[in-house]
Amino acid sequence: MAEEDNDAIIRVRDITVQFGNTRVLDGLNLDVRRGEILGFVGPSGAGKSVLTRTIIGLVPKVAGRIEVFGVDLDAASTSQRRAVERRWGILFQQGALFSSLTVRQNIQFPAREYLRVSQRLLDEIMVAKLVMVGLKPEVADRYPSELSGGMIKRVALARALALDPELVFLDEPTSGLDPIGAGEFDELVRTLQRTLGLTVFMVTHDLDSLYTACDRIAVLGNGKIIAAGSIADMKASQHPWLQQYFNGKRARAVVA
């Protein structure tokens, strides 16, 4: 994994994250290439979400370096950081929609803050985003508490895409969705990636997502990336956890 990749949109080098005495990430290296969908897997509690949150700057790291769009986030000035933040979108595990704003206001929020455009354009773009994530414009004036779990994920994705980012972080986007809904969501991510030219960093547990949506897979274990590559590479790996994960009972059901 350590080889230099000039096309990397995210470059993580020797990241160490520690909570108290527990070392969650231990000298981790990872590259995410421009335009790919990277599936990020690992056992529960291995620190997948921690890595995501470390990259986006919500969890402090003890050591290491993170570059996003070629900007070293530790060395970046506040305005450089802002510029990077405008170019990425994040879908949190629980959606993290603003509960006191309607769907319309949630999706318009980033654009309203960052761009001086008319209300008309904001409304039109909001509808475009809703259509893109497969929702009807009629949900625009509902509050998050009036939405179903799947709709919350879609609205949250629409908000993550509000400023047309180049990079999207998805934290377990299909968890809590029914298989059909999850399948549609994978399809959606694929379509959006193609239409908008996105790079997607997707934390997931869903084998279907890995098969249908992801270009490349990285596996986290013991605070390090234990493997990265295509599905075929994963299945060929001799690592016991990978063997179990990709060749276990549930995995066979997916392939069949």
């Binding site: 603003f98 509960s99 006191s100 319309r104 654009a111 960052y114 761009l115 001086r116 455009v117 008319s118 354009l121 409304d123 039109e124 773009i125 909001m126 509808v127 475009a128 985003k129 259509v131 893109m132 414009p137 009629e138 625009a140 004036d141 509050y143 998050p144 508490s145 009036e146 895409l161 400023l163 047309d164 379509t191 193609r194 239409t195 908008l196 030219g197």
Partner: protein, 360 residues
């Protein structure tokens, strides 16, 4: 016409102006092509603005067309072509009937509040009755935990504030009574005022602000995250598990805090009377013993648990009324404190009439 350059979100404000200028060409020519072959980059904002232009240049006779679209962007343009008009924001127009309706709803809301409080009081009493029949179901640990939160941890701030209030009453009393040479009567005033009214009222208001709001916020966020529903489905009564221990803790805590507060206020008053008014402690105590009777103390203490129950019930009703949003949690926490303090003062008035009529 020809579009060129970056059509992305960053440049959206400028692009929007360009597009609305270009829209004025509508109808000037029979057939219009929008040439986008010079566009360097395109995202949803740009694609939509081009689509908007295309739509407004089209009319019944001729449809404007987009030409020179690169293959990378064609799916994006197809995507925005599906976009329909945005739904209008529904806002209630300001009108006389609307305002009257609002007033009506508010008045009906007051009735609803009172029914809600009585309902909660009944539910808590039923839960208390059940616990009396089955003492094993009583949640001692929880009660002790809440007692620590609302009583033990509140002692420093309650004692400090009542001490200062005692000082102020005493200083003001001496300052004004001195003109009539009635310095010593400040002891009567301090004793009666602190034991009957200020001690318990002030402490109840502090508790409503400190613990009532905490109860509402706790129960409200549990409601928001469906924890209360989870509890109910497991066969537990939220009133018994969550509310009864909180109520009991508050009912036990307020008399204790009121007593400590009254003592602190008397102490502060006595100290000021001595240092500022020259009433030495011995004279102060002697006068205090004459001025007040046990009745004053009882009047104060009897009010405390009732006020605690009112604060607790208001806080729990508001907590359970929280809806799914953070804003709603804030509104109900505010309402909990405001209503709690209001009802405490109303209760104090009712008690004043009651004790006057029985001659205490």
């Amino acid at each position: 016409m020809c579009a060129a350059g970056n059509w992305t979100a960053r440049f959206a404000p400028a692009l929007e102006r360009i597009v609305s200028d270009a829209e004025k060409l509508r109808g000037s020519r029979p057939h219009i092509f929008i040439d986008v072959s010079q566009v360097a980059s395109l995202d949803t904002f740009g694609a939509w603005l081009i689509e908007r232009l295309r739509r407004s240049l089209s009319d019944a006779s001729a449809e404007a067309e987009i030409a020179g679209l690169s293959a990378n962007y064609s799916s994006l343009v197809d995507e925005v072509r599906r976009v329909g008009p945005a739904p209008r924001v529904v806002s209630d127009p300001l009108s006389i009937s609307g305002m009257l309706e609002q007033i009506g709803r508010t008045v009906a809301g007051i009735g609803g509040t009172i029914i809600g409080l009585v309902d909660m009081l009944g539910a808590v009493l039923v839960a208390a009755g059940k616990v009396l029949i089955h003492p094993r179901s009583f949640r001692l640990t929880s009660t002790v935990h809440h007692l620590e939160q609302v009583c033990w941890r509140a002692v420093p701030i309650v004692v400090l504030i009542t001490f200062l209030i005692g000082c102020i009453i005493s200083q003001q009393g001496i300052f004004h009574f001195r003109r009539f040479g009635a310095d010593i009567f400040v002891v009567d005033m301090l004793g009666v005022l602190v034991l009957r009214e200020i001690g318990v009222l002030l402490v109840a208001i502090m508790v409503a602000g400190r613990s009532g709001s905490a109860y509402t916020a706790e129960l409200g966020s549990m409601k928001m995250r469906e924890e209360i529903d989870a509890l109910r489905t497991m066969g537990f009564d939220p009133i018994e598990v969550l509310i009864l221990p909180r109520m009991l803790a508050l009912v036990l805590a307020l008399p204790i805090l009121a007593f400590l507060g009254a003592m602190a206020a008397l102490y502060g008053g006595g100290l000021v009377a001595w240092l500022y008014g020259g009433v030495d402690p011995e004279a102060f105590l002697l006068r205090l013993r004459d001025a007040i009777s046990i009745d004053h103390f009882i009047v104060g203490m009897v009010k405390a648990p009732v006020m605690a129950a009112v604060i607790g019930i208001v806080a729990c009703v508001e907590g359970l009324a929280v809806q799914g949003s953070a804003e709603s949690l804030g509104q109900h926490t505010t309402a909990s404190v405001v209503k709690g303090i209001f009802f405490v003062i109303v209760m104090d008035g009712v008690f004043a009439i009651f004790f006057a009529s029985i001659g205490m």
